[in-house]
């Protein structure tokens, strides 16, 4: 065994009390094995990783248990030996490489520090080799660079290079891709996978995302509220989850291609208990749809239902036998791609609620003193370069793209928080002034937006009643006396207890805050609601509920929705139509049903292949299709490439023409439009062959 | 030189006591030297850091004390304010009072061995009075018509007009005799005085050794003298307590009070001619009404002020600058009316202030003056006078002649060896610093008489009348005269504190 954790309990001191954050967790990792540790925020997964390093600080302590690494008992080591063990045996790739690298040292020097005892030339050779091994372009230049000169993805590669220097017994990856864009994330995962295959290092991969874990790991341990609730080989876990929490997690996030009309997501009700508020019986009982009296009173033991499987649930035999929750299990994978939908039965075209034509947004860049003195004209960032879109009543348009694509700017220009530089925006045929300050109250009422971060969207010093009462009175015409009733009705509409009105945002969970934020937008009965990344800041288990709520509210009130997301699965679930954006321009417009099938724009293709997909039953991470690699990062919007904006990274680039000439909008079936030089037929043919070449293999 | 600068230098420049205008010289000391064996012991004196050590520019106590040990004055003023011989063993005055002739002591010699000659004296005073050089003394000596060496050891001064106080002028702080042609007085220290400089480390200390060939018998009494410099007086006093120094002069009265109870010290406190003056402008309302002036005087309890503000040190005042140290002139003939706030209130009512009087009392922030103001405010309150105390930094109070403008103010006046000075500059009509803007024909006449007559009795009579006028109607209150303090280890004797501490005769100190 490389790493053996036995019966580990870790406590943190909070306001004078010691609270167990990790409770009686055991697991072991063999050399060469990749072990996934999955859990939501508050599950104790990071604490567990830190405990292995014995980096708990003065407020944390290991109350009981053992940690053995390569035969060494880490808990009894003295300080000097511990430092040596950390240096020689353990490597950590953290979530945020920026804060782990010294900003004032060149990359080469920092990497060299992990290779003690080498001569200068030998050291340099090794550093170069390491940087090349993580597929960094131009490693010589990277060596000479300072951290701020490199992008997040390159820095994470450097961190990985440093982690792989020497022969560590254990490599800990703590959410290494969380802060990266989708295409970059895919490339990093790919790299990690290859490196792991080539070595016999034990890997502990910590993540909040089951789908990410599924890309890499052979085994998965699921943590909930500090307890290990299920532990299984990845294929079995996805195929036959035995713990209701694991089931819930699998249900709560949409998978690519799953749409609201086909199957509703099944959210897990409630929220993770805080340390110190642990229920007496099963930790998951308060949220479990299968919980019975036994679950509420007695803590279930960690059973071994089969070879290499562990589960902490009283009712696993029933679940395994399909006696309970069977209907869920069946329904869970039963998504299909529908062509027609229930709502599309009326044939008269619904009225257009929002029409945007050739929207442009330029941000001036402050000139430096030197530029100012040399009378250089001020430069501009072209965030949005001519976007057209239309949303009909009751319909949902999804706007998808990576960071820097300009999708959020489009939304802000529509709502008027940013003043557009060009183009027209009309709501129900009424032209909208660029600035929100110039818009009439009735237009304000008709157009609302749910902001990205629910923590910042609610004033922490106003209670929910005040937050919701104000728009009711200000825009929806409520008399002050009626406002309280209106607030109750709103809270019920978003499935919150009307008593929530008295609470402050700080007393709400992330999901509850987002419900309040949605209720606030909904309060004015708008014709159009803009959602900016509605679930990206939320824990997995509550995402589903929010997505369901958005869909349900829309079904009832028939407002239109503009949905901004980087997550194709989320957009695919909620939207009727999708626009894929890149560098301030639309690359592809298609019905949601069509977007997942060829012919794609090459950029859409890359995005689709980059997004980690949970394995279908029986799938294994090692046999999944390789994502398409995009070289480098998104170019700066300050000097976007001429011709097709994507040509610098496009794997299917035709060369000269793409770099010189702006591509045409090719129109395909069902109104699909693709901004590309490559004929749609050619695209479709190439893309179909590609997926044929690497067929999915079932167990 | 602006008024306030001048006044400040005056405050520092307290010179000796009772003015006995002895027109004749005391008998000359015999020019024998004390045997070196008699000189023993070392004295360490704490002083503030000296800045200017050229006699022509020196003014602070520390500077004068050092120079007085190294150099000699032509004639000196003793602690009783009497003129006594120094380099000049004797002198005569002509009948018309215009010619003074000085004979130098034989045996007086500079530390470099050359004898002190009449030429050196002529050179010294010609330099001090040279209008081209613009030295601080040039106006003091502008009455001198000429100085001549009428022999190797004889010097004659001729005056333009009679000056009853000429001998005091000659003993001015700056008037230390240098060797003719000296250009480096501030660094070479080639004096004729009782001590010679052994080493000088600026801002730290100066070591001196006895001048074995000093011409005055029995002086100096010490083998060596060390000046140790301190930044402030508290540090000096602490050094005395801690045994790092043997002698300290000049200190705040509170510190002196505590030294009095210290073992092993001899403490000395003497009154000076310096005083704080409270004055009311007499040329405009409300001070132009004699009843108001009277009311202020009646509302004030000078004795109580002397006891609390001056801690009973120095001397109580009688509203006149002619203090008890001027033994020949001081008079208590006119009684000082007792404090009577009721009467004062009535007077104010008669003068048209039935509801009392409200005035700003301007006071510089130095010395005991703020305390004096606070005590006055409290005393005057009973008489219906509401004084609003305005404490200002000295530079503000004296700046732009503001102190001459305000209605009610407190001004400190430095010690002077003759009373005439105060009359001429602060009390006669149109005087340069007549802060009260007072004009009294009778006083003017008396002051003129006192300042010109060569008849001592007439002068004394005039001063007496002036004191009466000031008590009766002068728009000023002088509650006290300052004290000068000194403390020395009681293993020493011969410490005779001078009102201007720098002029204390260090050569007279010896080990018990």
């Amino acid at each position: 065994m490389a790493l053996t954790i036995g019966d580990l309990t870790v406590s943190y001191r909070q306001q004078g009390r010691w609270l167990d954050v990790v409770r009686e967790v055991s697991l072991s990792i063999q050399p060469g094995q990749t072990y996934g540790l999955v859990g939501e925020s508050g599950s104790g997964k990071t604490t567990l990783a830190l405990a292995v390093m014995r980096y708990l600080g003065e407020h944390g302590r290991i109350r009981q248990g053992t940690i053995e690494l390569a035969g060494l008992n880490l808990l009894t080591l003295d300080e000097a030996s511990l430092v040596r063990a950390r240096r020689d045996l353990i490597r950590l790739v953290p979530q945020n490489p920026q804060s782990s690298l010294n900003p004032s040292m060149r990359i080469g020097e920092q990497v060299a520090e992990t290779l003690p005892g080498l001569s200068e030339s030998e050291g340099k050779r090794r550093v170069l080799a390491l940087l090349s091994s993580v597929r960094l372009p131009d490693p010589e230049r990277v060596m000479q660079s300072y951290p701020h000169q490199l992008s997040g993805g390159m820095l994470q590669r450097v961190m990985i290079a440093m982690a792989l220097s020497g022969e560590p017994a254990l490599l800990i990856l703590d959410e290494p891709t969380t802060n990266l864009d989708a295409t970059t994330e895919a490339a990093i995962l790919d790299l990690i996978r290859d490196l792991i295959r080539a070595r016999r290092t034990a890997v502990l991969y910590v993540s909040h995302s089951l789908s990410l874990i599924s890309q890499l790991c052979e085994r998965v341990a699921v943590l909930y509220a500090g307890e290990l609730v299920e532990d299984a080989p990845v294929g079995e876990l996805f195929q036959r989850p035995l713990h209701p929490y694991t089931q819930g997690l699998l249900d709560s996030v949409p998978r690519i291609g799953q749409n609201k009309r086909a199957a509703e997501l099944r959210p897990i009700p409630g929220q993770i208990p805080r340390a110190g508020e642990r229920p007496p019986g099963c930790v998951f009982a308060p949220r479990c749809h299968l919980a019975n009296a036994l679950c509420e009173q007695a803590r279930p033991p960690l059973d071994t239902p089969g070879e290499g499987r562990r589960v902490r649930c009283h009712r696993w035999p029933e679940i395994a036998a399909g006696a309970v929750g069977a209907n869920q299990i069946v329904e869970r994978y039963g998504f299909r791609v529908h062509a027609p939908t229930r709502q599309r039965t009326t044939h008269s075209a619904p009225p257009v609620v929002l029409a945007v034509t050739h929207l442009q947004k330029r941000f001036p860049v402050r000139r430096t003193l030197g530029e100012w003195l040399n009378a250089r004209p001020p430069r501009q960032i072209e965030a949005v370069r001519g976007v057209d879109l239309e949303i009909s009543r009751g319909r949902t348009l999804g706007l998808v793209g990576e960071s820097g694509s300009g999708k959020t700017t489009v939304a802000r220009c529509i709502i008027g928080l940013s003043e557009r530089s060009g183009g027209e925006v009309a709501l129900l045929d009424i032209p909208l002034a660029p600035s929100i300050a110039q818009r009439a109250p009735d237009l304000l009422r008709r157009l609302q937006m749910v902001l990205q971060n629910p923590d910042e969207a609610l004033n922490p010093y106003l209670n929910v009643g005040e937050i919701l009462g104000r728009p009711l009175q200000k825009l929806a015409g409520y008399a002050p006396a009626d406002a309280a009733r209106g607030v109750s009705r709103l809270l019920e509409a978003v499935k919150l207890d009307p008593a929530t009105a008295a609470r402050l945002p700080g007393q709400l969970s992330g999901g509850e805050k987002q419900r309040v934020a949605i209720a606030r937008a909904f309060a004015t009965r708008p014709d159009l609601i803009l959602f900016d990344e509605p679930v990206s800041a939320l824990d997995m288990s509550v995402q589903a509920a929010i997505l369901n709520l958005i869909a349900e509210l829309q079904r009832e009130s028939r407002h239109s929705v503009l949905l901004i997301s980087h997550d194709l699965a989320v957009v695919g679930y909620l939207a009727d139509e999708v626009i894929v954006m890149y560098l301030g321009r639309a690359m592809e417009v298609a019905r949601t049903e069509d977007i997942f099938t060829p012919p794609h724009h090459p950029y859409t293709e890359a995005l689709l292949s980059a997004i980690p997909v949970m394995p279908r039953p029986g799938e294994s991470p090692l046999t999944r299709a390789q994502p398409i690699h995009l070289d480098g990062d998104i170019p700066s919007p300050m000097d976007a490439p001429a011709g097709c904006p994507f040509h610098t990274r496009c794997p299917r680039s035709l060369g000269e023409i793409c770099a010189r000439q702006e591509p045409p909008w090719q129109v395909g079936q069902n109104g699909r439009r693709v901004f590309c030089h490559i004929p749609l037929d050619d695209l479709e043919k190439a893309q179909r062959t590609n997926s044929d070449r690497e067929p999915r293999v079932d167990f | 030189m602006s008024a306030h600068q001048r006044l400040r230098s005056l405050t520092l420049m307290a010179v000796v006591l009772i003015a006995l205008l002895a027109g004749c010289g005391a008998p000359a000391a015999s020019p024998t030297t004390a045997p070196a064996a008699q000189r023993q012991g070392a004295l360490r004196i704490a002083f503030e850091i000296p800045a200017k050590l050229d006699p022509a520019f020196a003014s602070a106590d520390s500077e004068i004390a050092i120079l007085n040990a190294i150099y000699d004055y032509l004639i000196d003023v003793n602690t009783e304010s009497k003129i006594v011989p120094r380099l000049a063993a004797q002198w005569t005055t002509s009948a018309d009072g215009l010619t003074y002739t000085f004979t130098l002591a034989s045996g007086a010699a500079f530390h470099d061995g050359s004898p002190v000659t009449a030429q050196d004296v002529v050179w010294t005073f010609d330099r001090l009075r040279d209008p081209q050089l613009k030295l601080p003394t040039s106006s003091l000596y502008e009455n001198i018509a000429g100085i001549t060496a009428t022999g190797d050891k004889v010097v004659t001064f001729k005056l333009k007009q009679t000056n009853p106080f000429f001998l005091y002028d000659l003993s001015d702080n700056h008037a230390l005799v240098l060797k003719a042609g000296t250009t480096d007085a501030a660094t070479k220290f080639n004096g004729s005085g009782p001590f010679r400089v052994v080493s000088y480390s600026p801002e730290n200390r100066m070591e001196l050794a006895a001048n074995d060939k000093y011409f005055i018998a029995g002086k100096p009494g010490l083998a060596s003298l060390t000046f140790i410099f301190f930044k402030d007086q508290t540090a000096s006093v602490n050094a005395l307590r801690g045994g790092q120094v043997d002698l300290v002069m000049r200190m705040p009265s509170a510190l002196f009070k505590t030294l009095q109870s210290e073992q092993g010290l001899t403490t000395v406190s003497i009154p000076t001619n310096g005083f704080d003056e409270v004055r009311l402008r007499a040329d405009r309302k409300p001070g132009n009404d004699p009843r108001v002036v009277k009311a202020f005087k009646l509302a004030t309890d000078r004795k109580a002020i002397f006891q609390t503000v001056s801690l009973g040190l120095g001397a109580a005042g009688r509203d006149s600058p002619i203090g008890p140290l001027f033994k020949a002139f001081y008079s208590e003939e006119t009684p000082l009316p007792a404090r009577d706030p009721k009467a004062a209130k009535d007077l104010l009512a008669q003068a048209g202030y039935p509801n009392g009087l409200k005035l700003d009392l301007h006071v510089p922030d130095s010395g005991d003056r703020p305390d004096l103001a606070v005590v006055l405010k409290e005393q005057w309150k009973d008489a219906g006078i509401d004084a609003n105390v305005v404490v200002e930094p000295e530079s503000v109070y004296y700046g732009n002649n503001g102190w001459l403008e305000v209605d009610l103010g407190i001004t400190g006046w430095g010690s002077r060896p003759i009373p005439q000075f105060y009359l001429d500059v602060m009390l006669v009509t149109g005087a340069k610093w007549n802060e009260a803007h007072w004009s009294d024909a009778e006083l003017d006449k008396l002051a003129k008489t006192a300042g010109t007559t060569l008849d001592e009795a007439e002068r004394a009579k005039a001063y007496k009348d002036i004191q009466r006028i000031l008590i009766e109607r002068g728009p000023i209150i002088i509650p006290y005269f300052f004290a000068q303090f000194g403390a020395v280890k009681n293993t020493f004797t011969g410490f005779n504190l001078n009102a201007f501490a720098g002029r204390t005769d260090l050569a007279a100190i010896r080990v018990k």
Binding site: I415, L475, R503, Q507 | T308, K377
Partner: protein
């Protein structure tokens, strides 16, 4: 949790020994300031020449100073003076600073740039020096000291407020208010001000303690409150000259200043903790 209700403010302040001590000290001084004249045995300016320089005794608890004034009475009346002066001054500075900080921080642009460059220029001078410069032109008096406190501390408060405003200005809830078409004043006072309050409460307490110090320093330097007012700084300045003779006339006002300043600071700490714990 909300159901139990937020703990009363005072009990939070008393939860920790240090802030409990600070709060007690401040309350004690407030009590003395308000009711002091009822139990001070003498008038603060009454001089009993015969009792001058008496050490502490049952008759004069803190002794009598060199002019025969009762030091205890002077300290008691001084508390009223300094607390009212420092309190009013810091209150006005907090109000002015809040207005400047809120408006300037929210509006931004050239106005903000110019105003805060100006404030920076003020802040680059030590506050005591700035105070001295101002008093030089205003002349020493109680009102001048008040003006000086307001003038010296307004930029500091404004800076603190502005920094909070800048942190909040682009938050979602402000944009949500803009989406409702709220007026500028509503956003400033209803949406932003509550976020500023915790920092402001701490800042106000700190300003109060610094104002005590400033008033005392100015009194000590003789440019603030004028004698014979029982200003603590003035008493220290006067007592310093007679430290060897009447040390009690120095030590008691020094002790009062230190105790009050420390007390206010400890309480400010407690206030900060209380507000953070609540948020």
């Amino acid at each position: 949790m909300a159901d139990e209700g937020a703990p009363p403010f005072l009990s939070v302040l008393y939860a920790q020994a240090a802030s409990a001590f600070g709060t007690s000290v401040v309350l004690l001084f407030l009590f003395v300031a308000v009711f002091g004249p009822l139990f001070a045995p003498y008038s603060p300016t009454q001089q009993i020449a015969s009792e001058a320089r008496q050490p502490p005794s049952p008759q004069h608890w803190f002794g009598a100073d060199r002019l025969g004034r009762d030091v205890f009475s002077r300290v008691v009346y001084g508390a009223r003076d300094i607390i009212s002066l420092a309190g009013l001054g810091s209150l006005l500075a907090v109000i002015a600073g809040t207005l400047f900080g809120l408006i300037s921080g929210y509006r931004g642009g050239l106005f903000d740039e110019l105003l805060f460059r100006l404030f920076d220029a003020f802040l680059s001078l030590p506050s005591l020096l700035l105070a001295l410069l101002l008093l030089g032109t205003l002349g020493p008096s109680r009102n001048s000291v008040l003006i000086v406190i307001v003038f010296v501390y307004t930029p500091i408060v404004a800076r603190v407020v502005r920094s909070v405003v800048l942190g909040v200005r682009h938050k979602g809830f402000i944009e949500a208010a803009q989406m409702r078409g709220e007026a500028g004043w509503y956003i400033l006072f209803r949406e932003i001000l509550p976020s500023v309050l915790p920092a402001l409460a701490v800042e106000a307490a700190l300003r109060f303690s610094y104002a005590i110090f400033l008033v005392s320093s100015l009194g000590f330097l003789g440019v603030g409150v004028q004698p014979p007012n029982p200003d603590w700084g003035l008493m220290v300045s006067e007592g310093r000259n007679t430290i060897s003779l009447t040390p009690w006339a120095l030590y008691f006002p020094v002790g009062a200043i230190s105790l009050l300043v420390i007390g206010v600071n400890l309480m400010a700490d407690g206030v900060r903790r209380a507000l953070q714990g609540e948020a």
